[in-house]
Symmetry: C2
Subunit: 328 residues, 2 copies
C-alpha cells in the first residue's frame, strides 16, 4: 500500500510503498477513507509534539474508514464491515495511508446519518470541545475565552457554548473572521489585530468575569490573556500556533494568583470512564449529523498532503483539509 | 520628619520634610531604626508591584524600631516603649522615614536576643521561607529548587530545608556563590552560567524527582526550570529579577501537565491563623538570634537609599542594605 512516512522530524513525510499491516488480537484493519489535517499534525511532523512514536512512522492521528479485517476475538470481529471513526495507536503507524491497524477500543462505529468525511473529524475536535465545556462547568465558569475562535474547533466551541449557556469570548485575528463568527451566532468577538485589542479584552473579561481562557497560540497571546483575566484566572494552553514560548507577566502570577497550565486531549481521555466516552460519542454524532457540520475546504491524496498541510496552517478558517488515500 | 517620598513610579523617591503622623485607634507610631531593601522595593518603586498605595507615598515595606506613641486602646498601648518588627500598612506610608504609623497587628515585639537590625528583616524573608517549606510539605515534595539561592532568602531557605530534611537544588549564577552555598552546607548547587546548565538541571531534577521550583528571576529561567521539572511539576514565580516575562514551552504545559503559577507572601499570610503566625514569629526569632543571621552589607541614611538600592540589586549576595533614617 502507499503511506506517508516520516523519517525525520522535518515536517516533510514522503510517500512510500509499504506492506499492508495485519491486525492482531484486539485489533482491526481499517481501509482509510478520510483523515483530517489538524494543528497537532503540524506539531508532530516538526518534532514539537510529545509522542511515544519512533521513526520511521506513518503520520496521521485520526481518520474514518471501513473495517476490512480483524483479530480473531469477539470485540474486534463485531466491527468487521462497519464504517468507523478511529484514532491511530499511541505508539504505532498513523492514518495517512491506505490502511491502518488500530485497537478495537479506539474505533467508534458511525451512525447512518454521519458521513465518512464528517466522521473522520469525530474525535479530536469534538472531544476537545466537550472537555473544555466540562472544565468550564467544573470550575463554575459562566464565561470563558478561546484564542483560535475561527478554527474548526473554535466554531464548534462557539456553538456548544451557546447550547450550554456559557458566554464565550471568541478571539480572532482578521475582520472576515469576525463576520464568520457573527454569522454563527457569536455574541462576543474580539479581533487581536485591532489596535485596541488589549483594552477590548480587559473590558469584556471584566464585564463577564472571565477567569478561564483556552489558548491555541502561545507567545504574546498567553501574556495578553493572562493580563486581561480576572484575579485567580488561568490560561490553559492547548496549542502553540505562534511557535513561540508562552509568556506571562510575573506580576500577574505573583500578585493576582493567576496561572498558566496546559490542556491535552489524550490526558483528559485517560480520566474518562468508558460509559462517559460512549455518551460523548453519541452526543457528537448527533451534533455532526444534525447541528454543526465541519466545513471541508480541500481534499488531497497522499501526494498532496504536505502541500495541504501548508494550505491548512495558512488559513484554518477556510475549513479542514482532508487526506484521502484513495485520491490519486 | 524626613521621609523618602515616591511621587512617580520612576524608581527615584526623594527625601522630603513631612509631618510626623499621629496614630489612631488600633495603631502605633514606630521610631524607625532599620528597614531592609528588598527586591520587592525595587519592583514597587518602578511600578511593577501590585499595590493599593496611591502616590505620593513614603516607600519601604518592613522595618524595626521602638514604639513611641499609640492609639488610646489596650492592644496598642501595651506595645508602648517596645522594640518591634513591623510591616508598613497595605495602603499607606511606608518605613523609609524617621517615623511610621502602622496597625498594632502588624508589629511583633522583639525578643531580647534579637537585635533591631536583625529584627528589621524578621518578616518578609523568613516568612517567605516558612511559606515555601510549608508548600513543599503540603505537596509531599522531598526535593524542591530555588533560582536565587545566593540571596538572603536563598541562604535562609537552604538552611531551613536542611533542618527540615528537604533536598534543595540551589541555583546560583556565579562560581563564588557556589562556594558560599557550599560553606553553608548545601549539597545540590547548580551554576546557571555554566554551559551545561540545562543538562545539569535536568539530571539533578530527575535524580531527586523535583516537581516544585521557586523562581525569583522569570524570563528564560522559568522556561529552563519548567523544562527540567519532572512531569506534573510547577514553577512558582515569586520575583521578576530579570525584568522579563516568564516564559514556558507550550509542549511542557500541554503534554507534561506542568504549570507556572505565582507565590506572594501577602496572599499566603492572609490564609494563616493568628496563632499560627505567632508560632512562626517565635520560630523565626530563635532562628535569627541563634542559628542564621542575615549578613548586613551596607547601612545608608535616607539620602543614600536610592544608591543603596542600586548597590543591593547589583550584588544581592554581598548581603542586605539597611536604610537607617537615623544616619545622616
Amino acid at each position: 500500500m502507499n503511506a506517508l512516512v516520516l523519517t525525520k522530524f522535518n515536517g516533510n513525510p514522503q510517500v512510500q510503498e509499504v506492506a499492508v499491516p495485519t491486525p492482531g488480537k484486539g485489533q482491526i484493519l481499517v481501509k482509510i477513507d478520510s483523515s483530517p489535517i489538524n494543528p497537532s499534525d503540524n506539531s508532530f511532523l516538526k518534532g514539537l509534539y510529545s509522542t511515544k512514536k519512533t521513526l520511521p512512522v506513518i503520520a496521521g492521528f485520526e481518520a474514518s474508514g471501513v473495517v476490512v479485517a480483524s483479530g480473531n476475538d469477539f470485540m474486534s470481529k463485531r466491527l468487521l464491515g462497519k464504517s468507523v471513526a478511529c484514532f491511530a495507536p499511541m505508539d504505532g503507524d498513523g492514518s495517512w495511508a491506505e490502511y491502518m491497524v488500530t485497537g478495537n477500543k479506539t474505533a467508534i462505529p458511525l451512525k447512518k446519518n454521519v458521513t465518512l468525511e464528517q466522521g473522520s473529524m469525530l474525535l479530536v475536535n469534538p472531544l476537545s470541545v466537550i472537555a473544555m465545556i466540562e472544565l468550564a462547568k467544573k470550575g463554575k465558569h459562566k464565561a470563558i475565552a478561546n484564542s483560535a475562535a475561527a478554527s474548526a474547533l473554535g466554531t464548534m466551541l462557539n456553538r456548544m457554548c451557546i447550547d450550554n449557556g456559557i458566554a464565550l469570548v471568541n478571539i480572532v485575528r482578521r475582520e472576515d473572521q469576525v463576520e464568520l463568527l457573527k454569522g454563527q451566532g457569536a455574541t462576543y468577538i474580539i479581533n487581536s489585530s485591532s489596535k485596541t485589542f488589549k483594552q477590548d479584552l480587559s473590558k469584556i473579561f471584566s464585564e463577564l468575569n472571565v477567569r478561564l481562557a483556552f489558548d491555541a497560540i502561545a507567545g504574546q497571546m498567553t501574556f495578553d490573556l493572562l493580563d486581561a483575566l480576572n484575579a485567580g484566572g488561568e490560561v490553559k494552553v492547548y496549542g502553540g500556533l505562534s511557535e513561540q514560548a508562552a509568556m506571562a507577566n510575573p506580576g500577574r502570577l505573583i500578585f493576582e494568583n493567576k496561572k498558566v497550565s496546559g490542556f491535552w486531549l489524550s490526558e483528559w481521555i485517560m480520566h474518562q470512564s468508558l460509559l462517559k466516552m460512549l455518551k460523548h460519542f453519541n452526543k457528537i454524532q448527533k451534533y455532526l449529523a444534525e447541528i454543526h457540520q465541519t466545513t471541508v475546504h480541500q481534499r488531497v491524496g497522499l501526494n498532496g498532503a504536505v502541500a495541504g498541510l501548508a494550505t491548512y496552517m495558512e488559513n484554518m478558517t477556510a475549513g479542514k483539509v482532508l487526506v484521502k488515500p484513495g485520491l490519486k
